[in-house]
């Protein structure tokens, strides 16, 4: 059930209605039922993996609580993680690996079977979420959940199961279990957030996608400038699609009285690539930090490595090498988590390299700036940083959207060596599926998002500021938003709205 459909809105309305009419004690049951109905609507078979993950993680938590022996605890944790991630790895990478092996063994007569595996909706999100829970219980951060049904709700909570955010048990579960009265403020905020999300998604993202898909489908036939334009549009598309989707999800949860973590904090205002990744898909970054980066950096091998590098390179460099290596590994993992393809590995390497390099180079760079008398904290330099960060992100997008690693490299090559500025003006643009009006909507939409982001960066609460305006202004805003959505939204009928780009990751 894609969010940009009438049936989804009906489903939400019905769920809310039931949610606020049943006895408050049973509200969580309504959510559980709704979540399973929602998930089953995408395919009943997919439920198997959800139930499996739920049972594995719940049992692991349950067992961990009853065991004191450290090694036994470790064993339980390891088994749970192997089972959970094994499922994900098998579904995601088996075919990639099998066809790779088959290619290597071609001619020997030996071949691994290649299955038609459908990646269940949102599987990596709920596996990450439940694995985080098992690790936290192991670390003793909180006692395990005793009620499997309540735990099942934590794993399957329906707005988030499609594309995150990846929630933490100690933040989300208590809210899910609590009773919630209907609250006008929360209802209002929820609706506003949903409207904002829908605007981003079906006005901007789905529109930009038309151009992006046209160009990437036939990338060799466009000059570098058009390729660059398509990647730029893809940057717009993926941000608006993903963050818009999250806004819708958070809006729904908010109406139910549940606060979900933020997943985006104006990433295109980031001043460095590391900063960008702290603002983009925050819940994944946080998960990776707590459950991969920290344990890795503090592990014994890294500790020993650190000692050695400090001896070899006295000063800051020696201290930073092992951490850089850890972050490098994290990005590599994020890269292949996106999908089983060399282009994602390249994407991981690209980001890991730049971040590691910039950390190592940072002290020298600061010194250099001081020498040429540029204030590293000043606004002009910040703007330079924002632009260069966006540029680095932009180049990275060639890899995530390009059909393959080779395709991405070819497009990059074209952008550099055969840019052909003329193509932006000679009417080629008109053949890419967007009208002048579509372009206007995208540009105007981006401008509004930029403006809102700009004020938020400056610490202004835009929503509160608007609330103080005259009721006519507020009404005009609501009417304008609804009218734009109805008339210029890209719907499944006539146009096919793209499914969430992220929901299968």
């Amino acid at each position: 059930m894609p969010v940009a459909t009438f049936s989804f809105l009906l489903f939400i309305s019905a769920t809310l209605l039931v949610y606020f009419t049943v006895p408050r004690r049973s509200q969580w049951i309504v959510l559980l039922v709704a979540s399973y109905v929602f998930y089953a609507s995408a395919g009943v078979k997919q439920l198997l993996f959800l139930v499996l993950t739920t049972i594995i993680s719940f049992s692991a938590g349950f067992l961990l609580a009853g065991v004191k022996n450290k090694n036994k605890k470790k064993f339980i944790l390891a088994s749970a993680l192997v089972l959970d991630f094994g499922l994900l790895v098998f579904l995601k990478y088996y075919n990639f690996a099998a066809s790779g092996i088959n290619a290597l063994l071609a001619g020997t007569g030996f071949a691994l079977p290649v299955f038609k595996l459908l990646l269940p909706l949102g599987i990596s999100f709920y596996i990450f979420q439940s694995a985080g829970y098992v690790i936290d219980v192991y670390r003793g951060k909180y006692p395990p959940e005793r009620n499997i049904a309540r735990f099942a709700l934590f794993v399957s909570f329906f707005p988030q199961i499609i594309q995150g955010p990846i929630s933490r048990y100690d933040r989300l579960a208590p809210q899910l279990s609590a009773s919630h009265e209907p609250d006008f403020d929360r209802l209002k905020y929820g609706i506003q957030l949903m409207l904002w999300g829908y605007l981003k998604k079906i006005i901007i993202a789905d529109r930009a996608a038309v151009l992006v898909n046209t160009v990437f489908a036939d990338y060799m036939n466009y000059p570098g400038s058009i390729a660059a334009l398509a990647v730029l549009f893809y940057c717009i598309q993926i941000y608006c699609d993903f963050s818009g989707g999250i806004d819708i999800i958070r809006g729904i949860a908010q109406m139910m009285g549940i606060d979900m973590v933020e997943n985006f904090r104006r990433p295109y205002f980031a001043t460095s690539l590391a900063d960008f990744w702290r603002r983009w898909h925050i819940s994944l970054g946080g998960w990776m930090r707590d459950y991969l980066f920290f344990p890795l950096s503090l592990s014994r091998p890294f500790y020993r490595l650190g000692k050695r590098t400090r001896r070899l390179f006295p000063g800051k460099l020696g201290k930073i090498i092992p951490t850089s290596l850890a972050s490098f590994i994290v990005f590599f993992v994020i890269g292949i988590w996106h999908g089983a393809s060399f282009k994602y590995m390249a994407f991981g390497l690209y980001n890991g390299n730049i971040i590691s390099f910039s950390i190592i180079a940072a002290p020298y760079f600061t010194a250099f700036l001081e020498k040429i008398r540029i204030d590293p904290q000043g606004l002009p330099w910040r703007i330079v940083q924002i632009i260069s960060t966006n540029f680095i992100v932009f180049i990275g997008r060639y890899f995530t959207r390009g059909p393959s690693l080779m395709a991405a490299l070819r497009m990059l090559k074209r952008t550099v060596f055969s840019f052909n500025m003329q193509a932006l003006r000679d009417g080629t643009f008109r053949t890419l599926g967007l009208s002048g009006f579509d372009l206007f909507l995208i540009v105007a939409g981006c401008f509004i998002i930029f403006l809102v982001g700009f004020y938020q960066e400056a610490g202004v609460e835009v929503r509160k500021a608007l609330e103080r305006k005259n009721w006519l202004v507020q009404w005009a805003l609501v009417m304008a938003a609804l009218a734009v959505l109805v008339f210029f939204g890209i719907y499944r009928e006539g146009y096919i709205a793209s499914e969430f780009i992220y929901q299968q990751y």
């Binding site: 670390r139 003793g140 951060k141 590391a274 702290r278 930090r289 707590d290 459950y291 980066f293 920290f294 344990p295 950096s297 503090l298 500790y303 650190g306 201290k319 930073i320 951490t323 850890a326 972050s327 950390i359």
Partner: protein, 79 residues
């Protein structure tokens, strides 16, 4: 040198521009990023001869100077 001074020295070296005696949301406001944390933990482990594990890397253990001190004392007592 008392523990607090030692700790301040480590922190100063790590991030000279931050006033650690006044900040109360070092982690929540991203003043210390994850690289800083790892560097800090390395120094703490060496200086105070403790073992900080990933399970201790929670915002509430690192948000203020006194939180960090509490963590170090707790681990020394356990150790």
């Amino acid at each position: 040198m008392p523990m607090e001074e030692k700790l301040l020295k480590i922190l100063k070296e790590l991030r000279p521009e931050v006033d650690f005696t006044r900040e109360t949301r070092l982690i929540d406001e991203d003043i210390l990023d994850s690289f800083d944390i790892i560097a800090l933990v390395g120094e703490l482990n060496d200086t105070f001869d403790i073992q900080i594990g990933p399970e201790h890397l929670l915002p509430e253990n690192f948000n203020t100077l006194s939180c960090i001190l509490d963590l170090v004392r707790k681990l020394q007592a356990e150790g």
